[in-house]
Symmetry: C2
Amino acid sequence: MGTSAAQPTSERALTCICLEKDGEVLMFDAGEGAQISYLKCGLGWNKKMKIFVTHLHGDHCIGILGLLQTMTLQNRIEPVEIYGPEGIEEFIASNIKILNFGLSFPVIISTVSEGLVLEDKTYFIHACEAEHFIPAFSYLFQEKDKPGKFYPEKAKALDIPEGELWHKLQMDHEVKVGNKTIRPSDVMGEKRSGKKIGISGDTRPTKKLEDFFKNCNYLIFDSTFSNELKEKAIETCHSTAKEAAMLAKNANVENLILTHFSARYKNEGALLAEAKTIHSSVIAAKDLLEIEIK
Amino acid sequence: MGTSAAQPTSERALTCICLEKDGEVLMFDAGEGAQISYLKCGLGWNKKMKIFVTHLHGDHCIGILGLLQTMTLQNRIEPVEIYGPEGIEEFIASNIKILNFGLSFPVIISTVSEGLVLEDKTYFIHACEAEHFIPAFSYLFQEKDKPGKFYPEKAKALDIPEGELWHKLQMDHEVKVGNKTIRPSDVMGEKRSGKKIGISGDTRPTKKLEDFFKNCNYLIFDSTFSNELKEKAIETCHSTAKEAAMLAKNANVENLILTHFSARYKNEGALLAEAKTIHSSVIAAKDLLEIEIK
């Protein structure tokens, strides 16, 4: 939704990343103006939603306030869950009070620590400490493995009557037909691995994050500077595009998405080029870029 | 800078009005995204600046946070003065603390009450209670009267030597030349009245505000709804375009500027039309509209 570091430019909004899955929106950070990008995307104001904040710098979380306010104006009733580092509750709760929000829906705020943040029916969210000025987390969306493809012709060949027994097999349970025990693998293809998607937030590249993001299908990583400005990246606790690519390569990441570009870069060409010398599948994010993950 | 009520649209940003005078920016409200509009205007990050907040709803003040943060990134050193209703200090101070701003310049926060807010060398700012859900103020910028035009030929004809005595006359002081007392009016034209510019913020139209805005050269007034939705305006403590025009007419306002349009209006045509049936000089504000006031 937004790809600019620290301050917005006339082309790039502040950091905001949304993952939509089964009608739910998982938002990672919401810089000022997130509601405008969200509006442009047309994702809907009453969707199931969780917001994960990487760290409490304004350019990563101020946008939550406007989102909550506009959702109230849109008569949202669905709760919003917000996760973030120590202080997230004070930030949200004190602004709701001072700014007289009068919310139309519940806001449930949780302070994150390293490890498993939550388990949903179809996915996990994990957090790992990042390396920034202030306490900061990277997040990992880990989809649960999905059952293999169901082959009706195999079920029919085994004389399994259509209906409840088919459903049980699809849900990964054995069934009995007469004396025969049918295993799910008799009528279904191999289990399909769940997708892994990593979001770094603001950070230096670290060995710990390399392990955390191991085998991600997609990794969205801090790419504030080009490698020429590596000193600046160290000084400001960010990463260069080259460093992002090296981490992704070492972590066996399938696809790397660079984001969080310094306002000094009018376009991302140089950053993309240096990352591509290291990693074979790199995209430079753009505001409102959509990627379908299958 | 922004003309949308309550929530932004893809065409209109949230409320923000800037008055630039002698290199100083007086900002009235700063909704989310104000820094983006401010950036587009190119007014400069290190200008002398005062911000006046009408009321503590998020769509009128959340933008201050991003402005302060970006000014720090731009190494601003000039102080920023912020004025607003009770709670303004808590809002700014608590966010500066929670969001780890590390400001590069002083922020001076003052709680406003009705009456004179401040006197500058060349202008006054007054506040008047508005009628909204929560404590809210309208503001009046009142430029001090300016001395009349100086006529050098008249000064020469009266044998007044150029230099200090001319300067004193221009500064509205009498001077003595030999035995003669020369009055400023002997060498200068009539005093020029200072401009009066009113900003309503969110409010119902009231008799009190009609008096407060008497004889304004420009009045920027809440025009959230068209008169068809007057009931809605009453219910939500806003004004219709027609009501804004009636107040402006009764207050003998020279030019009325409508703003703070509900997101339901794709364009302001209907609002402008109904106001024009009442008042002869009406403009519908647009984002980034600039008006030169002479």
